[in-house]
Symmetry: C2
Subunit: 122 residues, 2 copies
Amino acid sequence: MDLDQIYAGLGDETRRRVLHVLAPGPLCVCHFQAVLRVPQARLSKHLAYLRARGLVTAERRGNWMIYALPAAPSRELAANLACLQECARAQPRFQRDLARLRRLAPTLAAPRPCGPARPAAR
Amino acid sequence: MDLDQIYAGLGDETRRRVLHVLAPGPLCVCHFQAVLRVPQARLSKHLAYLRARGLVTAERRGNWMIYALPAAPSRELAANLACLQECARAQPRFQRDLARLRRLAPTLAAPRPCGPARPAAR
DNA sequence: AATCTATATGCCCAGATCGGCATATAGATC
DNA sequence: GATCTATATGCCGATCTGGGCATATAGATT
């Protein structure tokens, strides 16, 4: 994989946060919104950016777009993602993201992953 | 150290080549010119860029400027430099740089490090 | 088909970046 | 002090970037 793409992808903090928080498993945009607390348009754009460069894969499930790290990343990408994870350990912001992600964990597997799980019928 | 600085520094190929080729030891600008085959102005600018962000240190020795990796890099920087080294192993361009660097190695310790060692008095 | 929800895109602006070319500077040497 | 060598810097143009705001689209639901 092209180092240019990788380092370009890592060149923005929002994108680094996305990649970091994606390590434990796939997420959809509304999760990113909840975890990173970043406006939706911005997220979509950065996700498109990452996707265009192969740092992330996307799959549509019904109304939701599920983003994930590539199943078989190149050596280079894998190395850099690992490096990012290590660096993140010392960064408060990344840790906060992670905390919010964990708090969200239970809903992740739900068939209706997003939104405040509006209880059944209104 | 600020991740922004690090990843910004790594965001350009010329700079990555500089950092890569600096791993074995300090170099001065004319070495970079010989090894990377890049116009001098461009090199100076990228070196200034790296220096301003603390990815590289510089020391004047007579007429020459000696650039080196920081003596005590932060965890983050160290991790990323290591990662870069690993990535470089698969990149032909980086390998060519390294080859030229090795061919240059004998002159590195000379008191007159640069230029084609114009033999003593002309 | 109207509507709702989740996500993507277009437009615009401000600022950063990179490269080339020419030129300036610092220090050594004559 | 004139000159040479090694390096740095200024200016310019082209390109990219990131953000906000508004709006478009895709699919689900009624």
